[in-house]
């Protein structure tokens, strides 16, 4: 009895030790997982690949899978809607863990791409090696350059190229007796906004004043890019308190002080609610947002119009590529060749991008897609305007290169805080931007260009 009990205990102990050790081994195995870039290419015609994206683009890529499988029946594609901004944390964590747990294909915004490629040089596969170079001239100006790292590696293939837009409620402007076409600059827009507010009670536009979500500074950023400026210059110096920045923030302050800015705190949901409640006359949003408006308020068909935003200074540019997104392949993926086939299928075949545009209004970066009539036919929703051509004009306009740099997230944070100070406390734009630039320099070790 005693002996048997002892042996049972011993056996149990050995089992437990085994379990503990195997847990440890599994842990160290994942900890020292391939540092990225070392993944085997795998077969180009066979395998299981996973794609990470969010909302509409995820749904659209999922819809393209049957067509893809008609050509590559042995590549099983799983598209996952990770959600935005959750996807960025997920990718960061995966890259920091040496690429373990990442999807094979990842949808990445230009705002995050330089951070990933600079902090994790081997985290994303070199698509040039897989054949991406042949498409170099196929995309809108500037977007290819942004994807190529300093080491000449092609980290991503462009998917969307969105230009800044000015979606407006033509009925509200009509009611106020303001001709939208006559608004040439943002100073004109402020004057027009005052008339709209007085005659209709509607705000000109809305901003997330307390910056309850990270992209509350999109409008500020668009005003900067319309002037060909950004948070950093091409050498990586901080230009946060440049004359252009101060001008952009001053416009925001003037709009706010004149009572023309609705508070859309709460981010996305607040904005959608505001569209339904007809709170604002204008949505200064990029190309892709047109699809969101159509989906959100189909009954407001014909009441909307679209044009490029007013210039910041008279005679200045009205075109700015404000955001673009890309598809990348994880350096740790064992199925890089198959993943590339999917990326190539989605991004270089005009018919697929045309379908995505038709369904969700997402503007393709592939210029050949714009040959399709859908970009040149009048849109009923937007009062018979040729919405596609409005944005195509912007895409064709000379677009200065934008250096998002690896410190974009920090820059965005200090800018958003500065904007909140201006909107909630009436702070002086030049002063808060100077503070922001100094703080960014302290955090990043970059110099401020003054």
């Amino acid at each position: 009895m005693d002996i048997s009990r002892r042996s049972v205990l011993r056996a149990g102990g050995a089992l437990a030790v085994g379990a503990g050790l195997s847990g440890l081994a599994a842990c160290s195995g994942s900890g020292s997982g391939s540092g990225g870039g070392a993944g085997a290419e795998g077969s180009a015609t066979k395998g299981d690949i996973t794609v990470w994206s969010w909302a509409s683009p995820a749904a659209e890529m999922k819809a393209l899978v049957p067509a893809f499988n008609a050509q590559y029946p042995d590549i099983k594609v799983t598209v996952q809607d990770i959600g935005n901004p959750a996807i960025w944390d997920k990718i960061t964590t995966g890259l920091a863990a040496g690429g373990s747990g990442l999807a094979d294909v990842m949808h990445i915004g230009i705002d995050y791409l330089p951070g990933y490629t600079e902090k994790f040089p081997n985290g994303l596969a070199d698509l040039g090696r897989l054949g991406a170079d042949t498409y170099k001239d196929a995309f809108a100006a500037g977007v290819w350059e942004s994807a190529v790292g300093r080491n000449g590696k092609v980290s991503a293939l462009p998917m969307e190229a969105n230009s800044g837009g000015f979606y407006y409620r033509s009925d509200i402007f009509e009611q106020a007796g303001v001709d939208v076409k006559s608004i040439a600059t943002w100073d004109d827009a402020i004057e027009a906004g005052k008339v709209v507010k007085a005659k209709t009670g509607k705000y000109l536009l809305g901003l997330d004043k307390p910056a309850s979500i990270p992209d509350a500074a999109n409008f500020f950023q668009m005003l900067l890019q319309l002037q060909g400026a950004f948070y950093f210059d091409l050498d990586g110096g901080i230009t946060l308190d440049s004359a252009e920045s101060v001008k952009a923030m001053t416009i925001i302050k003037q709009l706010n002080d004149a009572g023309l800015v609705a508070d859309l705190s709460g981010g996305w949901n607040a904005q959608i609610a505001a569209i339904k409640a007809e709170t604002c006359a204008v949505l200064p949003m990029p190309t892709w947002y047109g699809g969101i408006i159509e989906d959100t308020v189909p009954d407001q068909k014909g009441k909307w119009g679209v044009r490029l935003p007013p210039a910041v200074r008279r005679g200045g540019s009205t075109a700015a590529t404000v955001n673009s997104t890309y598809l990348s392949i994880a350096g740790s993926s064992k199925q890089q060749a198959a993943a590339w086939k999917f990326v190539e299928f989605v991004l270089t075949r005009p018919e697929n991008l045309v379908k995505i545009y038709k369904d969700k209004g997402i503007a393709p970066a592939l210029m050949k897609a714009y040959d399709d009539p859908v970009f040149h036919t009048p849109s009923e929703f937007f009062g018979g305007q040729q919405k596609g051509e409005v944005f195509l004009d912007a895409l064709k306009a000379p677009s200065p290169a934008v250096n998002y740099s690896s410190d974009y997230a920090r820059a965005l944070k200090v800018v958003t805080d500065a904007q909140t100070k201006v909107l909630l406390k009436g702070a002086d734009p030049a002063e808060v931007l100077k503070q922001a630039a100094d703080q960014l320099a302290q955090q990043t070790g970059r110099r401020v260009v003054r």
């Binding site: 102990g13 503990g20 440890l24 160290s28 902090k119 909140t420």
Partner: protein, 307 residues
């Protein structure tokens, strides 16, 4: 804490040992049982803790980790955002924790009272928030406190009170955070205090009553001294919890507006997962650990049982 006495064997069990114990057979069994837990603890706790100390001495330059010594720590001292985070956390600590513990003490006394009917129902009710998932309750509070569509402002509207900018004004955001924390943790602390309360001998209250002490005097001279060890425990636990607070500000306000609710935990997260600055984030983590250690020591000195 408690003075429970261990029954010492008085029999003949304490047989004299001959030579050092041999690690065989039966003697090995306890080690075998403990080993998996120790191995898992080492893999998932000790290793990350040690590795983050190493990380805090490095900085990532162009994707390669470069040794920078104490640079991350000196940078911390000159970082205004770190000080803002520290100040915000301190404000919550100094204002919210005492209010919460006073509330918890009052609740514990009420839970213990024989005058209260359905005591277990009340205990359950106040403890339940503790069981709620942090993210779930954060989301619920953000919906409740929404300035335009929230239930709270809707109810206030009937009382003739205008919309309160719960999450969008720097001061109100801090108050909202304190409210959420109090709702979540008061019941938990009350249960710890209640457990201690029940170990105070009834004779002490009888003696106090005989000496002519009213309820307030009995509370001051019997209940409070009796609660001292539990109060120390809840104070230390709440201090550690508050210094590490992350979920609530992250979900309710993202640390905003204008960093009004930025806590050390949120700042640490931002540096690691938004700015990919793992070295600096690790330095923040160690600064926080040192701070918690110091505050814990002070509390033990001030509140601890001197006897």
């Amino acid at each position: 804490m408690s003075t429970a006495t261990t029954q010492r064997p008085t029999g003949q069990q304490a047989a004299p040992r001959s030579g050092p114990p041999r690690l065989t057979g039966r003697r090995l069994a306890p080690y075998a049982f403990v080993l998996p837990a120790v191995a898992l603890f080492a893999a998932f706790k000790l290793y990350p803790i040690g590795w983050s100390l190493v990380l805090s001495l490095y900085k990532s330059v162009d994707g390669t980790d470069t040794f920078v010594g104490g640079d991350n720590y000196t940078r911390l001292l000159h970082d205004p955002l770190f000080w803002t985070a520290l100040k915000n956390t301190a404000v919550i600590l100094v204002i919210q924790v005492p209010i919460m513990l006073a509330l918890a003490t009052a609740l514990a006394v009420a839970f213990n009272s024989r005058l209260l009917r359905a005591r277990s129902l009340f205990r359950l009710g106040f403890f339940l928030p503790m069981v709620t998932g942090l993210v779930a309750y954060g989301v619920i509070f953000s919906v409740l406190l929404n300035e335009k569509y929230g239930l709270v402002n809707w109810l206030l509207h009937f009382a003739g009170i205008g919309p309160v900018p719960w999450l969008t004004d720097p001061l109100w955001a801090k108050i909202s955070l304190a409210l959420a924390l109090t709702w979540h943790y008061t019941g938990y602390n009350a249960v710890i205090l209640l457990a201690r309360l029940q170990s105070i001998p009834a004779e002490l209250y009888d003696a106090a009553a005989v000496d002519g002490a009213g309820p307030w005097k009995a509370f001051r001279h019997v209940t409070l001294p009796g609660l001292r060890p539990a109060l120390l425990l809840t104070t230390v636990l709440s201090t550690i919890g508050t210094l590490q607070i992350f979920d609530e500000p992250f979900i309710l306000t993202h640390g905003g507006p204008d960093n009004a609710t930025l806590t050390i935990g949120v700042y640490l997260y931002q540096n690691a997962f938004t700015y990919f600055d793992f070295g600096y984030a690790s330095a923040i983590a160690y600064a926080l650990a040192i701070l918690i250690g110091i505050l814990g020591l002070i509390q033990f000195k001030v509140l601890g049982d001197k006897s």
